[in-house]
């Protein structure tokens, strides 16, 4: 028997309870200061000589470091660095390349020469390979790739030249802000709760079932796609992780394998669909923050 809940927004607890300290929020066009002593950083501009005032060009928090003023935007697109892992969706199939959408300012590019051929052959790509591009990656497919190069205009060149990367098969995509993903050495994790996760730097998180392949530790380059049904226990783990990550992202908690695992453990006492409630979400996030702080205290003692 399903339960349809309709409630008033005023019964929702407001965010103000969680704010600590005063943050100086500005919107584009707001005057930050009229003092000429400061140096301009990112997110600011001043208009001409007659006007000495410093304006903000983005919506965000003002940060002042000695004489440098900059505005850190609350919401921004992903700007790539070489070596980052990204998860992207194929938007277009062009002549010798694919256009991939990665939540950045412009679409990224995956050249035909930057993908592994099935079978691992090393040869020059022929016209037949070009005609068969769609059989490998079609519009709408998700891939995991690494940033090879960042062009002058900001367009990222991606490559999937390792068995770790390639087309993604069954799983669940969660989109969060790129700023919430902590930069670590490893972004592809096999979590202890029974699922695997790719925490891409562009804010796309891919949750999938752990491949129990006996061959390589790495992967299969996305050539073996299975569209079979996943067992219900694995599916429940994936859905639970998805809901936990959404809760953490709502409260802007930095996402990495430890924080996600703490949130998962805190959520085991609830049913998966109860995690969609605001109150349950707050409880889980508070527990996670507490556990993270404990862990940090433990680390700092050494």
């Amino acid at each position: 028997m399903s339960n349809i809940t309709i409630r008033l927004p005023s019964t929702r607890r407001t965010q103000n309870q969680y704010e600590t300290g005063n943050s100086y929020l500005v919107t584009p066009g707001d005057v930050i200061t009229e003092d000429t002593d400061y140096m301009r950083g990112h997110g600011t501009y001043c208009t001409g000589d007659a006007d000495d005032r410093l304006y903000s060009s983005v919506a965000g928090v003002v940060e002042r470091i000695n004489k440098l003023i900059c505005v850190r935007a609350l919401k921004s697109r992903y700007t790539g660095e070489v070596g980052d892992i990204v998860v992207g969706r194929v938007k277009e199939v062009q002549q010798k390349r694919w256009k991939i959408e990665t939540n950045s300012r412009l679409d990224s590019i995956l050249q035909l020469s930057s993908v592994n051929l099935p079978g691992g052959e090393l040869r020059r790509r022929s016209a037949t390979d070009e005609l068969n591009m769609r059989s490998y990656l079609n519009e709408g497919d998700l891939i995991s790739a690494e940033v090879q190069q960042v062009n002058v205009d900001g367009i990222l060149s991606l490559h999937t030249r390792s068995l770790r990367y390639g087309k993604l098969s069954q799983g669940c995509l969660v989109i969060v802000s790129p700023s919430l993903i902590k930069r670590r050495k490893n972004h592809i994790h096999n979590l202890s709760c029974g699922a695997s996760i790719i925490l891409a730097n562009n804010g796309y998180i891919w949750i999938y079932t752990t491949q129990h392949s006996s061959q390589t530790e790495e992967g299969d380059g996305g050539f073996i796609i299975s569209n079979e049904s996943i067992p219900i226990e694995d599916r429940e783990i994936i859905c639970r992780l998805r809901n936990c990550i959404k809760c953490l992202a709502k409260r802007s908690v930095v996402l990495y394998d430890t924080s996600i695992l703490y949130a998962y453990e805190a959520s085991t006492s609830y049913k998966v669909k109860q995690l969609l409630d605001d109150e349950v979400c707050d409880e889980i996030v508070n527990k996670t923050i507490y556990l993270l702080q404990q862990a940090n205290v433990g680390n700092n003692e050494y």
């Binding site: 399903s2 339960n3 349809i4 809940t5 309709i6 409630r7 008033l8 927004p9 005023s10 929702r12 969706r89 194929v90 938007k91 079609n138 519009e139 709408g140 497919d141 998700l142 993604l168 098969s169 069954q170 799983g171 669940c172 995509l173 796609i225 569209n227 049904s229 996943i230 219900i232 599916r235 429940e236 859905c239 639970r240 998805r242 809901n243 049913k271 998966v272 669909k273 995690l275 969609l276 409630d277 605001d278």
Partner: protein, 290 residues
């Protein structure tokens, strides 16, 4: 609706999930996402409501004006529905891009309200053959997160419930004509009776099961869906099949049964909320958009 793209494997993941009664966010096939409704948010309308369902967000405003009745129904008032898709929801809605969707939704709304019992139009009549109230219901879609039709219908019911029609006095003027006088007090209103107002329930067929309240991704996996207008007592006021796929005639009665059940529950929850809101003190701040 808004453009979400899905790869084939993701679609299979969703379809298998629905088969196992565990959707991507853990809901079962008959669960709705959280709905937030607030009425009386737009001050210069006669009635308004704001609704949030998952990631769909809408604003409904109702204004009433004097007009002449339809010659075929001289004692009844009129209701007009208009839907506006804001480019806020999707850049493709700019200019005339959202017209198809708007026309579709307003057409369905008109269809389910166009019967004798949904809204008693006789209460909206003033002087037969000459004057009546014309109710304009304007829906503004701010965000598309799947299941727009259900969200629109719940918001419209809430807004109509909140609509106060001015209490008009008809007096006999000179030479046999009748004069209308509007009250001075803006609070001298009569609220529209929405006891029988229907609510839309969309039942989407995915694989061999059907789901209620499909999210934007689930809508991409569904080929055919049934939209029905259901009243509080579980009676159907209109039905339409959407989508290019086919529906097995044997599964349709099951889907209709689900739709009626869900419709009844939606009405119960919504009526409970509207009653609570009415009972709340006047000075409780409306959450609105800030």
């Amino acid at each position: 609706m808004a453009k979400v793209m899905l790869g084939e494997s993701e679609k299979w993941f969703i379809i298998h999930g629905i088969q196992d009664d565990m959707r991507n966010d853990g809901r079962s096939c008959e669960d709705y996402r959280h709905i937030e409704v607030e009425t009386g948010v737009v001050s210069n309308t006669h009635g308004s409501s704001r609704l949030r369902l998952g990631s769909s967000e809408l604003l409904v405003g109702v204004k009433v004006e004097l007009g002449s009745p339809d010659p075929k129904a001289p004692t009844e008032g009129l209701i007009h529905f208009h839907v506006d898709c804001s480019p806020n929801a999707d850049p493709s809605f700019q200019g005339r891009g959202g017209e198809d969707l708007s026309a579709n939704i307003s057409c369905i709304l008109t269809r389910i309200y166009c019967n004798k019992s949904s809204i008693d139009l006789n209460t909206l009549g003033i002087i037969p053959h000459k004057q009546c109230w014309v109710v304009h219901v304007d829906v503004l879609i701010l965000e598309c997160g799947g299941n727009l039709l259900d969200a629109v219908s719940v918001a419209v019911k809430a807004a109509l419930h909140n609509t106060g029609v001015p209490n008009i006095q008809v007096t006999d003027g000179d030479e046999g004509t009748q004069e209308i006088s509007l009250p001075d007090d803006p609070n001298d209103v009569k609220f529209i009776n929405t006891i029988n107002a229907p609510v839309l329930v969309t039942i989407s067929k995915v694989g061999s099961r059907h789901v209620v309240d499909a999210s934007a991704e689930e809508e991409l996996c569904c080929n055919a869906s049934l939209v029905m207008g259901v009243t509080k007592r579980g009676r159907t006021t209109g039905m339409r099949k959407m989508g290019g796929g086919s529906l097995d005639p044997e599964s349709i009665p099951e889907m209709i049964g689900t739709g009626k059940n869900i419709g009844r529950q939606l009405h119960i929850s919504l009526d409970k909320l509207l009653k609570t809101e009415q009972g709340m003190a006047e000075d409780i701040e409306k959450a609105g958009y800030l």
